[in-house]
Amino acid sequence: MFGFVLKRVLSAIPVLLMVAVIVFLVLRLSPGDPAVMIAGPNATPEQLEDLRTSMGLNRPLLEQLFIWMGNIARGDFGVSLVSGKPVADLVMDRFGPTLALSITTVILAVAVAIPLGVIAAWQQGKWIDRLVMAGSVVGFSVPVFIIGYVLILIFARKLGWFPVQGYRPMSAGFGEFASRLVLPTVTLSFPYIALIARIVRTNVIEVMNEDYIRTARAKGLAERGVLMDHALGNAAVPIVTIVGVSITMLIGGVVVTESVFNIPGLGRLVLEAVLARDYTVIQTVILLFSTIYVFINLSVDLLYGLFDPRIRY
């Protein structure tokens, strides 16, 4: 087990190195640079050149790459080319809102989707199954920002139960913190509920046709026990996989939700950084996202062993 984890962690290093190099090169080869964004729309070519020189953007590409990677190896992520603030501080400031939104979304999605999927499988072909499947099509098909606007209209504007926008950290009080997370969490969880519920249903239906389920029923086990102890447990591996995939997809999904609800998270940070060509920020956030991907995949692999005793590392 320990050997497996160590091997996987070590194998992540070349992956992250490749990501770093690719992100660096793609950014430098795409048009536009941060000097343009700092100097504003009416800057003269001379002003832009002066700024580029002071930012080190006129140095050879390889030199810039080695300087950046050397700094990262020392734990120095540099400063934002636009704001002049340390990138590590900017990322830490924005990490909290995204983490809070992601955790609440995953909890809500799993808590709603698994029972829905199991019930749909149990009631296969009946109205409740059709309802869950129809709901999952809607959840998949309706863009997140539309769901967000509808929820804002009903629950913030009409009923006044929640604020329209913004984020407050836990230090501002639990009520302030939670009230601003409810609508974004519900909004963001829609597609994940749809995705997870479908996968749970499919896998539970497949397992329900296995011989050991028939045996369990023949032994007189109650339907609840059949579903929860035998069917769900044996369908767990693909469900864990899809939950893991959902978490990684969430990182992309938060960009829109954070914009609609004005949450200053990592999704918005990376979007703003891309538009402003703030290279140091983009590179760091993409590296962070890649690291999260790698460790979520590793966690999913380890969880397989928990749900299926035949899997050993």
Partner: protein
């Protein structure tokens, strides 16, 4: 009886105390304006960038020596001035009570260092510096500017309201090279920047500067007393306009600097809000042709482009057909400018595809594609490309419209290479009217070839006239020269004006006192509970 009177007295005293303490609390309650501005604040150097959000930031934190009143006339702000009898020497004297936010007094050394840095960046400042023979500190409160010839440039430049305004920084910050953005936020303006609360791109907080001594004259434009009537102003960024409007309707924000015109019906007519259009904060659309590459190196084909384009369709696409928030305007320097002119209005306002086709035929245009750069990520620019593209096609041009984000447009427009090697032929943009209305500083009319703005028009007569305008102090002569420049700009298609549009500010009805100025400023604004 005594007890009754005692109890009654005690009750009255208690009630009175409660009332007084409540009133005291109400009096001490903090008034905060929460504002959604047109762009996020991500940097804090108000001099090296022409980004308008940094100009707005500058007006919060810094002060200027002179300022323009609502009629556009320069007035004293931090300093009064006198002019020598020969009109060559200007003496500026700082008023009493000026202090930076760290408590240090503002001195003439600070002013001179700030003007030196500013004049390296700003076009008007560069012209002023080129015309000036010396700028000398006389004492802590006085400095002089000396010119070899009588000129009005000093007052025009030091009261410049927009683009990069000449803000006064502490000398130490002002000595930072212009290639290096300053990170200090110490100014002497009516608000102090709350660094601890600053989240670049998210929010910026400004606290009332209790030590600020405003002028005694009433506020008028950017001039007069900058009296701050709230405790705090918070600029928050909302990337989604719909969210901003919903937040406004829910009372979560008080001020929305530029509501998209299509969302106006959601707030117009609602008694809880006021909507106001500030003409001075309006913008001019312009089309720029690349003089260095075919086909627009040919004057006849440039003329065909001028004839092909018309203003109304673009304005309709930007703010909606029949909107009161836009108007056609043939004047290069804007229709509210002292230099306003209706020269060639018949050619500029409406498209003339048939005449354009004739001009193209006469020029021998071979149908080579014209590369039009179309910025898609900015609300005001996104509708421009398709309108320009279609009007050029209607006139017989072959148009290759390349859509990209604004950062890519700005990067590509710097290229003087042929189109096949990453160059370009046409792009469009907007400039705010205070910048447009200044023939010396407006980059859209500079025509010095390689040293001018992207497109690099080379019309020496224009540069000569701009120099003349800068060196005269006679307003009538300035106007005459300005209108002559307008004529040359149109005749040479240095830029093609594409109409004016005006942003609309939405405010909570509890907010009053916003000044009609070239930038949205928060002094004089009151918030009632």
């Amino acid at each position: 009886m005594f007890m009754n009177r005692f109890q009654s007295g005690l009750l009255k005293t208690t009630l009175l105390s409660l009332c007084l303490s409540t009133a005291g609390f109400a009096a001490q309650a903090e008034t905060t304006i929460t504002a959604v501005m047109h762009a996020p604040l991500r940097a804090v150097d108000p001099v090296i960038s022409t980004a308008y959000i940094l100009r707005n930031y500058g007006y919060m934190v810094y002060d200027t020596l002179l300022a323009r009143d609502s009629q556009g006339a320069p007035q004293p702000q931090m300093a009064d001035w006198t002019v020598s009898d020969d009109g060559k020497t200007y003496t500026f004297t700082l008023r009493d009570g000026l202090k930076f936010h760290d408590g240090a007094p503002v001195t003439a050394e600070d002013a001179v260092a700030s003007l030196n840095r500013w004049s390296q960046v700003d076009k008007t400042g560069q012209v002023m510096a080129a015309l000036m023979s010396e700028m000398t500190v006389v004492d802590d409160k006085t400095f002089t500017m000396t010119f070899p010839e009588p000129t009005g440039i000093a007052l025009i430049a030091l009261s410049k309201p927009s683009g990069v305004a000449p803000f006064i920084l502490p000398k130490a910050a002002a000595e930072t090279p212009i290639s290096q953005p300053i990170t200090s936020t110490i100014g002497s303006g009516p608000f102090k920047f709350d660094e601890a609360a600053y989240q670049p791109g998210v929010s910026a907080t400004f606290l009332k500067n209790e030590d600020y001594v405003p002028r005694t004259e009433p506020a008028d434009g950017l001039a007069g007393g900058k009296v701050v009537k709230v405790d705090k102003v918070v600029w928050t960024t909302m990337p989604d306009s719909m969210t901003a409007v919903n937040a406004m309707l829910s009372g979560e924000i008080d001020f929305y600097e530029q509501i998209p015109h299509d969302l106006l019906p959601l707030v117009e007519g609602n008694p809880d809000f006021t909507t106001e259009m500030y003409r001075k904060q309006g913008s001019q659309n312009l089309v720029r042709l690349n003089f260095t590459q075919p086909p627009f190196d040919n004057p006849k084909i440039r003329e065909a482009a001028l004839l092909a384009l018309g203003q109304q369709s673009m304005l309709d696409a930007q703010v909606g057909a029949g909107s009161q928030y836009a108007r056609t305007c043939p004047a290069v320097f804007g229709c509210e400018s002292p230099y306003a002119s209706d020269y060639a209005a018949d050619k500029i306002l409406e498209p003339h595809p048939e005449e354009a086709k004739a001009a193209l035929a006469e020029a021998g245009y071979d149908g080579a594609p014209v590369l039009l750069m179309h910025a898609t990520d900015l609300n005001n620019l996104a509708p421009q490309g398709p309108v320009i593209g279609q009007q050029l096609r209607d006139a017989g041009f072959t148009v290759d419209m390349v859509s990209m984000d604004w950062a890519s447009v700005v990067a590509r427009r710097a290229s003087k290479a042929p189109v096949a090697e990453g160059g370009w032929n046409v792009f469009s943009t907007t400039n705010v009217l205070p910048d447009v209305g200044d023939p010396i500083g407006f980059i859209g009319v500079a025509a010095g070839g390689a040293s001018s703005w992207f497109g690099w028009p080379d019309v020496p007569e224009i540069e000569e006239l701009r120099g003349k305008l800068a060196s005269t102090s006679d307003p009538d002569e300035q106007k005459r020269i300005g209108q002559e420049i307008d004529k040359l700009v149109i005749d040479n298609e240095v830029m093609i004006p594409m109409g004016e549009f005006y942003n609309v500010t939405v405010k909570s009805a509890s907010l009053t006192g916003q000044l009609d100025a070239e930038a949205p400023v928060f002094w004089n604004m009151e918030k009632s509970e």
